[in-house]
Each structure stands twice: as structure tokens, then as C-alpha cells.
Symmetry: C2
Subunit: 495 residues, 2 copies
């Protein structure tokens, strides 16, 4: 017990060196908390070095189970100065250097709610207005959509403070409520949706339960995290250049970005209207499709896609990291995809035109308000808007012409098939990664559906290391329902 109290003292004074000594060396030492499990002394030590100390607490109850002369389990109930009680379970072992912890499980009471995921919550925040196929479902609404009685915050506190209370639901929100779903809350977004990272400067990065200590992805970050954590069944988001596909892939959930203009964008704050689309997340393909039944226009005359329609493009796989490329490639193979080679020499030009026109439209939409308020933005989004503010009209028009050509080329490459590609170029990056590099790589993949206005469904796959990755299925504009009908087939086929 001396060692236990020594540990407690070291913890309360954040004596990282002492804590390092009190955890057993080697790759098998374990430490788990609500964020996830750390395996090995190195991971644990890195965590301690970065977190800046544990919450202050007192031990109110201890139980010791002596296993043998050299092992004891200590279970302690703690009382936190900030309120609430926690529990700590530790297996201690006597080694040459003294008693050390070989495994620790730490639980502390969570806050009222996670403000990285949510801006506002209610039970419900907005009731269902009808009874329908979504009765019993709960929705996280990305903080870009109008919800009657609430403000739109757009991920930026200055915007939120100046916003008026909405009197009418956005079209997509109204349709979900009319179909029986209730709104649980308003979920965080990257500022003005102008990011793929989810690392909102003001509110933090939502947790990613299947990939602890990695980013959630964005910009529909709160909705993706809320669905992954089971806070809600449906996460409403948007996708301009990947804002559904990327967080869906990173969090291992299903997601769809709909065809451009297929779903009503009334009451949705724009980023770049030529590319903005409504999208959503769910934990099952069935619910993903059920939401589609409510939000999408009636099905056209086209038949539902079959496995035979599926094409995989090695040149697109090669744009992803090897672990993602191989997970996506194997999943496509398992679905009987046919390999097809594409000439992607124009891709860098397409991506550049996409970025330029997106920025041009974003500044058209938000420049007048942001011009004197750029200092209210985090560095990442501020940098993008500053770049956007410098785009000249001739350059924008040139990009627009390039985009028209690119759109035709991409649509004709996709044709009448389903195309499988990675939803993002990598698994979710660790929170301290260089996210600009990741963004550039992922945009190469995601800009295709953005430019061509294609529907895209993220099918969760898993890398060899056990991390979530995304198989993205795209099809011709308007084939949203075909993709959604195909999604459950994908699951069945993989069993």
C-alpha cells in the first residue's frame, strides 16, 4: 500500500518521472480510460507527458486483493474536487526495482455533456412533427442547418453571437421531423464547414471512439462523433469536398453525400453552393437508406445496382496510404469489383480548379461578414478564407471553365457503374499530425464527387492494424437510391 499512496502523491503533483517509474516497463503494460486503452510503457509515458496532470481528487475507499507475495490488485474509489466520484483499478507487481503497476483502469465522471461534439442538447431539442418511418430515431443536426427556435452557429462564436433565432426549420430538418425523428441537439462543425479535420479552434476535436487519440475528421465532426458514440442514430451533415465522407471513414460509420441538388438546401448556411450537398451518418446501412427514403426524390427508372456494376481503379487506390489502399482494395475485390485503369494526369488540375472555385464561392458567401472579423477564426480556416479573399475574378472564371470540363470527364469515367475508391487517403490522423498534408492528399480523392456532383456512400472497412477506413462508392448523379440499396448488399457479401 505504500507504493499505492506514493503513486497517488505522484499523480496529484503530476510528477511524470515518478509516475513513469511506477508503471512497469515493457510493451505489455496497460492503462485504459474513457478515451481508450494505451498498450505499452511508451504509449503511457507519452500520454502522461502531454496531458498536464490528472484532476485533483481524494481516495475515499480502497480494497486490496492480495494475489501472492508479489502481486496485488488495488481498487480505489476517488472523489474529485471538481465533483463526482471515480474508480481506479490497478494490478501491482513486485519487480526488482520495487512495486509497479502492470495494468490500470481509470474512470472519472464525465462532464454534463461533451462540448466538443455538441453545442446544444435537449430531450428532445425539437420533437417529431409527424409519425413515419423514422419514428424513434434521434438526430444530431450540424450547426449549419436552421432549427426553429435556435440560432445557427457555424462553428464560430462571433457568428453565433450575431445570429438571429431561426423561425423555420431547414428543409432537411423539417423532413426528418415530419418522418418521425426527433432532434437531440445541434452538433459541432468546423468553422463555416471549411475544413476536413474537425479540429475546431474554439471548441476542440470531437472524440473518435474506434480510433482513440485520433481526429474525428470534419467538417461534419460532431454529427459523426455523436453517431459513432451512440448519442444519436442519425447524424445530419453536409459534404462540399468530403465533409461527410472523411469523418465517416475516420470514425467507421456509414455516411452518404447526396447528389448535388438532390436534397433541398433551404435553411442551410452555404460554403460553396456549386458543391454543397446534404449528407448524413448512421451506424447501419439500413438506417442510412431509410433516411434516404425520406430526404431523396423518388427513385428514377434505373435498376438497383448489382455487384457486377462495381469498378475499382488502381490509380485511385494508389492515392491513399498503403494500409487504406489495401483495406479498400480487398473489400472491393471481395465484392467482385472489376479493375479499370484511369488516366488521372489531369487530377492535380481538377483539384486546383475545385479548390479555387470553392474558395471563390466561400468568399462570396462569407467575405462581406468576415472581412473585418478574420481574427475570430482559427488559424486553419482563417488561412483558407484569406487565400479565398485574394482570388481574382479572372482566375475564378478560369477555374470554373476547367471545372465544367472536369465534370464531364469524371461523369463519363464513372458512367453507369459504381466506382469504389478510398473515402479518405489515410486512417484518422493522430491529433498532433500535420493536417495540411493529409488534407491535400484526401482532397485528391474527394474532389472527384465534389466536382461532378456525384452521390457517394462511405462503407466502413478496417485496416490490418484494426483502424477504421472508408470504401467510397460513387455513381452517376441521381443514383443515390441505387447506392443506398447496394450498401446492405456490401455488408452481406462481406460476411
Amino acid at each position: 500500500m505504500d507504493a499505492f499512496w506514493g503513486y497517488e502523491r505522484a499523480l496529484m503533483s503530476n510528477d511524470v518521472e515518478a509516475l513513469d517509474r511506477l508503471f512497469a516497463p515493457g510493451p505489455d503494460t496497460l492503462r485504459g480510460d474513457a478515451v481508450g486503452l494505451l498498450v505499452g510503457h511508451d504509449q503511457i509515458s507519452a500520454f502522461r507527458g502531454s496531458r498536464g496532470g490528472a484532476p485533483q481528487r481524494t481516495v475515499v475507499e480502497t480494497h486490496v486483493q492480495t494475489v501472492d507475495d508479489d502481486h496485488a490488485l488495488v481498487v480505489a474509489t476517488t472523489e474529485l474536487v471538481r465533483g463526482g466520484r471515480g474508480q481506479q483499478t490497478q494490478l501491482w507487481e513486485r519487480q526488482e526495482q520495487g512495486w509497479v503497476v502492470t495494468a490500470a483502469h481509470v474512470a472519472v465522471p464525465p462532464p454534463a455533456y461533451d462540448a466538443r461534439i455538441w453545442r446544444t442538447l435537449g430531450s428532445p431539442l425539437a420533437r417529431a412533427t409527424g409519425d413515419g418511418p423514422l419514428a424513434g430515431e434521434s438526430v444530431a443536426v450540424k450547426d449549419l442547418y436552421a432549427v426553429a427556435g435556435q440560432r445557427v452557429g457555424a462553428g464560430n462564436p462571433a457568428w453565433e453571437a450575431a445570429a438571429a433565432v431561426e423561425t423555420t426549420d431547414a428543409g432537411a430538418v423539417a423532413a426528418l421531423r415530419a418522418a418521425g425523428a426527433e432532434v437531440t441537439g445541434i452538433s459541432r462543425t468546423d468553422e463555416f464547414a471549411y475544413s476536413l479535420a474537425g479540429t475546431n479552434h474554439h471548441f476542440g476535436t470531437p472524440p473518435n471512439p474506434k480510433a482513440p487519440r485520433r481526429i474525428s475528421g470534419g467538417s461534419s465532426s460532431g454529427s459523426a462523433s455523436a453517431v459513432a458514440l451512440g448519442h444519436v442514430s442519425i447524424g445530419l451533415g453536409t459534404d462540399t469536398g468530403g465533409s461527410i465522407r472523411v469523418p465517416a471513414a475516420y470514425n467507421g460509420v456509414w455516411g452518404i453525400r447526396t447528389s448535388h441538388d438532390a436534397v433541398d438546401r433551404t435553411g442551410l448556411l452555404p460554403l460553396a453552393e456549386s458543391f454543397d450537398t446534404v449528407g448524413w451518418f448512421a451506424r447501419t446501412p439500413d438506417l442510412l437508406a431509410a433516411v434516404g427514403d425520406v430526404l431523396l426524390p423518388p427513385a428514377g427508372p434505373r435498376p438497383v445496382g448489382t455487384v457486377g456494376d462495381l469498378v475499382v481503379v488502381p490509380e485511385l487506390l494508389a492515392l491513399a496510404d498503403p494500409d487504406v489502399a489495401s483495406a479498400v482494395g480487398e473489400a472491393a475485390d471481395a465484392l467482385g469489383a472489376t479493375e479499370e485503369s484511369w488516366d488521372l494526369s489531369a487530377l492535380p488540375a481538377w483539384r486546383a480548379a475545385f479548390t479555387t472555385w470553392q474558395a471563390w464561392e466561400a468568399w462570396k458567401a462569407h467575405g462581406p461578414w468576415l472581412a473585418g472579423r478574420l481574427d475570430t477564426l482559427g488559424a486553419d480556416v482563417r488561412g483558407r478564407f484569406e487565400m479565398a479573399s485574394r482570388i481574382t475574378e479572372p482566375r475564378a472564371l478560369e477555374a470554373s471553365a476547367d471545372l465544367l470540363a472536369a465534370r464531364q470527364q469524371i461523369r463519363s469515367l464513372v458512367g453507369d457503374r459504381f466506382v469504389a475508391l478510398p473515402s479518405a487517403s489515410s486512417v484518422a490522423p493522430l491529433v498532433d499530425s500535420d493536417l495540411d498534408v493529409v488534407r491535400e492528399a484526401t482532397l485528391q480523392l474527394t474532389c472527384l464527387a465534389g466536382i461532378a456532383g456525384l452521390p457517394a456512400v462511405n462503407v466502413p472497412v478496417t485496416t490490418a492494424e484494426g483502424l477504421p477506413a472508408g470504401l467510397c462508392l460513387v455513381a452517376a448523379p441521381g443514383r443515390d437510391r441505387d447506392l443506398l440499396a447496394f450498401a446492405p448488399v456490401v455488408v452481406l457479401d462481406r460476411r
Copy 2:
């Protein structure tokens, strides 16, 4: 590992008998989760019998630390079908009958927020409107106070559905915001505040972190639980017949019920206006007093109370359970309280008059709306309102006359001293207790300040068994600030 997977199968099928067998017999077996720690096979078995199964999940990662031939620690990461990941740490031991668990620590992801505590949350729900002594503090507002832009729900879904959106803050809410505090959310109350239990039929019983598996007390249940858990620093509530004092005592937090009419009740839904008072909770006496500085009228000419003023009444202690009486008595002794005998022969009559007049006023306030809607109430509160509806005017007037006399007698008994008594007759009852019996016993104690309009501060004490109990300090009407100034002295003296 066979035993581990056997356990997992038993858990997923809720095979209670198998689970009982797989936990080691005896009083030392441990099982902890976010609710609290269960000690001994009997407690664990009772818990399993009552909870109706664990959430469905799959094991995604396991780590085994073999301690010796007869002991192994198994740490598993689980993925819940409802979303999110959890962790389970188990110490297994080989006993005669096979491998059994001697200690388990289970963590599952919490919901977006606890709807037993909160109705609505925001970051913040309502900003501070000024800078002042409460800057940086966060408030849970009991769902009886108006918050601009929100409805008053009164703990009853039918009332909430019919309520209009408030356009102005209640007086107390406005004052807190003007002093720099922000409103985090609207917290649960018993229906129309007509209970001391906190067991709202519609929304459940908020957790009590220091007394796991026991009720929170009410009617200011959500605010008390939110403060105890550290969700907020200040819990705004009301106290008519104990609705601050009882949950403060049960949860081990500080609380004050102010003198009747000392704090503005504008924008507060009444229960019984002759007794209704504004009150609040905090985790420290300093913050309790700082809120008083904002909400209470300026101090009168009276000196701050000193320890010499304190009186303890054995006849009042005797109204509490022995564990509470002895914790409260010891705390009073430690403060140098003088014993004084009171003739309490009239107490049953006082209590009856209090209950009758409270019911009469409650029906005056809510009868017109409730008359056709009694079936929207839980059985406990419905029973009280039905009783209230049958009170005749002559009986009410008689009660009112008795109350006037009682008020004078109680005020003259208290005089110019501080009186120490139990805040509630018992520690927090287990959730499946007979709460009517507890209510009757506690009302004997709490009705005194109710009848006489006295201020009352709950000082947290602990029973010999380690459960929270409450030392209640009452004084003459208007001496709220004296009590609040005395409270930190109490803490110092007990060190």
C-alpha cells in the same frame, strides 16, 4: 480464456445464474462501474438480478496478464451495438469450482447527456449578461424558473408541451447572469416540485454519486445531482418543504433555502406561495455565500453569528434515524453547540397544518390546469394533488390559523440563535425503498423552517457508514447572510 468467453456469452444472454457462478463467492468480490462500486457477491448478485442485462457488445481487443498458475488479469475493449467503445478489466482466480472473477471494473460510453438530470443543455444555454463576482461560474436552473428563450417544463411533459417560450428571465436567473454566471442548462424537478424524492415518474431519478443506488432527493433533484457530479458549480432550486435541504443532505453538497420572501420569486412557477423560497446548491460554502451576496438583500445591522450562538435540540435529533442523529449531533458538539430541550408535542399538528395549507395553495395554483389532466402525473404526485383537490375551505382556513400560531412559536423557539438539526431524517434511501415513510419522517424536521419562513443552510456531514447526511442550520427570518457567513466557520472548526 475459455472462462472469459463463457462469461461473455453469459453476459450477452443475461444468464444471471451463470454470471453469479462466474463471480467469486464471498464478501470481498468487487464490481465497479460508473454508478459505483459493489462489494461482495451478494451485492453483485442483487444488482444483476435487477438490471435486466448488459448492453449488447462485441469484444474487439483482449490483453491477458498471467499472474501465476491460478490468477490472470484480462483487459478487454468492447464495442457496443448502440455505439461507442467500453473497457472491462477482470481479475480471474482458479478456485475449486473453476475460474471465477474476483474483481471487475466495467466502463461503457455514457449517453450524450443524462436526461434524468437535464432537460436542455447548451454551451452555454444562456450567457452571462454582466461581469461580476460570479464570472466563470455555471448554473443549473431548476425547471420551474423562466429562462428567456426556453419553456418552463415543471417536470411534467404535458405542461412543457403546452408552455409558451419565456421572453424574460426569472428574477433570480437574471441576477445570476448579471453577476457573471452563465446558465449551462435546465435541470429536472419533481413534478410541480411536489415531492422530496427526486424520482420523477417521466424522467427517472438523477444519480447520487456519493451514495450510489440511492435517490437524489428532490424536488430540486437535477440541480443537486448536477452540482454533486461537477456538471456545474451552482444549482438553482426551490425549497417549499425541504426541496433544497433534503437533496443537499442526500448528495453531500452545501445548500441554502432562503428566508421566505427574501429573494425575488418573479418568473418562478409556484407550488405553495406561503412557503416557496429560492435556494441553491454549491460544493463549497464560499461559493454558496458568494451567490447569496448576489441574490440576497443587503445585510441588516445584525452581527455575524458566532459559534456561541449554536443550539442543538435532542428532541429534533431524535426524529432522525440513529446514524444521522449521531453524525449531526457529533458535528454540533464539535461546534460547541449548547443542548436545549424543546417541547415538540405540537409538532404533529404543525406538520399536518403545513401539509394541508401547502396542498390547498398547490391546488389553487395548479388545480384549474390539472383538473382534467391528473393522468399526466406520476402516482406519487398525482396522489398528493388528488388529496389537495379534496381539501375544503373550512379545513384550509383552520390550517392557516394553526400555521400562524405555529410560526410564532417556532420563531420564538429559534430566537436569535442558530439551531442545528438534521436536514433530513435519514441518509438517501435506496431507490427501491418505501419513500412515503421517509417523506413523513423528514417533513417533521423540514416543516419547521417551512412554516416559520426561516433560512436554512445544509452543512454536509458523513455518517459512520460513510454516507452523506445533513446538518441543518436555521436562524430567524432575514438572517440568511449570517448563516452563510457562519458556514465556512463550520468547515474550519471541523478540521
